[in-house]
Symmetry: C2
Subunit: 173 residues, 2 copies
């Protein structure tokens, strides 16, 4: 979203949520973080987002407790951004929005397939496994792989890595 991020007078959890994650690019940053993207440069390469906007979004999400900024090496000092428990719970709305788009906005086939790591069953828009019936699966138990409708010719390393099947939240190689 953007431009005046406050929906004053809306005593509604949805409005509060959108003030935080409804700005332009924010939800895509969160999706990438759930996919295992952690470094500034990787978000940048994969999203084609203006650097200034990325910096601002990451700072906002860290301050809100959705992402944690964590030092992963000292020489030179480098930080990575990792979803907190609060951030991991955004998995459900992110999935629901994406699945809605798959159903209604995709003329080609499925772009990404989500499956339950334990049984291999497909996962639906409520994060439940069609095969074993497990409901509301957390991202740690979900694997993504490209579907037949994915038409992704991007050659940056992040896009290439995301074309390999991998478990959600697992950091990119």
């Amino acid at each position: 979203m953007a431009l005046g991020k406050n929906y004053d007078g809306q005593d509604c959890s949805l409005a509060r949520t959108l003030e935080l994650v409804g700005e332009r690019w924010t939800m895509l940053v969160i999706r990438d973080a759930l996919y295992g993207v952690r470094r500034y440069g990787d978000f940048l390469a994969h999203l084609d987002i203006p650097r200034a906007v990325l910096s601002q979004r990451l700072a906002t999400l860290v301050e809100a407790g959705v992402l944690e900024r964590r030092r992963y090496q000292d020489n030179p000092p480098r930080d990575e951004y990792v979803p907190t428990a609060m951030g991991r719970e955004l998995w459900l709305p992110v999935l629901a929005l994406g699945q809605w788009g798959e159903r209604h906005l995709s003329r080609r086939g499925t772009r990404r397939v989500f499956s339950h790591v334990e049984c291999g069953g497909r996962i639906d828009a409520t994060a439940s496994c069609a095969a074993c019936g497990a409901a509301h699966l957390p991202p740690e138990q979900v694997e993504v792989r490209p579907g037949p409708g994915l038409e992704d010719d991007r050659s940056d390393p992040v896009s290439v890595a995301l074309r390999e099947p991998h478990r959600l939240l697992d950091p990119l190689p």
Copy 2:
């Protein structure tokens, strides 16, 4: 969201979805439509949204097939905006986002309680009934009522009407 609505190069259903429903105000318009708001003036009164933005959002949503514009009286000619099947399926992501906000951004208690009309059980973020176990309930089977955390002192007729328990999609009185 807003400002340059296209996330070019993102071959992702989430990005496609956000191009449509991720602009600023759009998701709140959809929420209101699911709550039973149908008329231009009612959206306007309840959301405090600039008229020009509301007009543009309604037009976009109608063109995309999320809302249907429907004549409800001829003298004078008046139209209303009603969610299509496609729009009703946005219930799940809208609920998931709202419930995330209830859990993580609400210091007071629950603002709105969703329950299963058939059994009265509470509904969770995946639209499943905690009491009878029915999963992925459609909005027609869900009732909203104010929760203890709702601190809504708005006095416009729409806010007043929405403070009464009512079934989703049922038009306001």
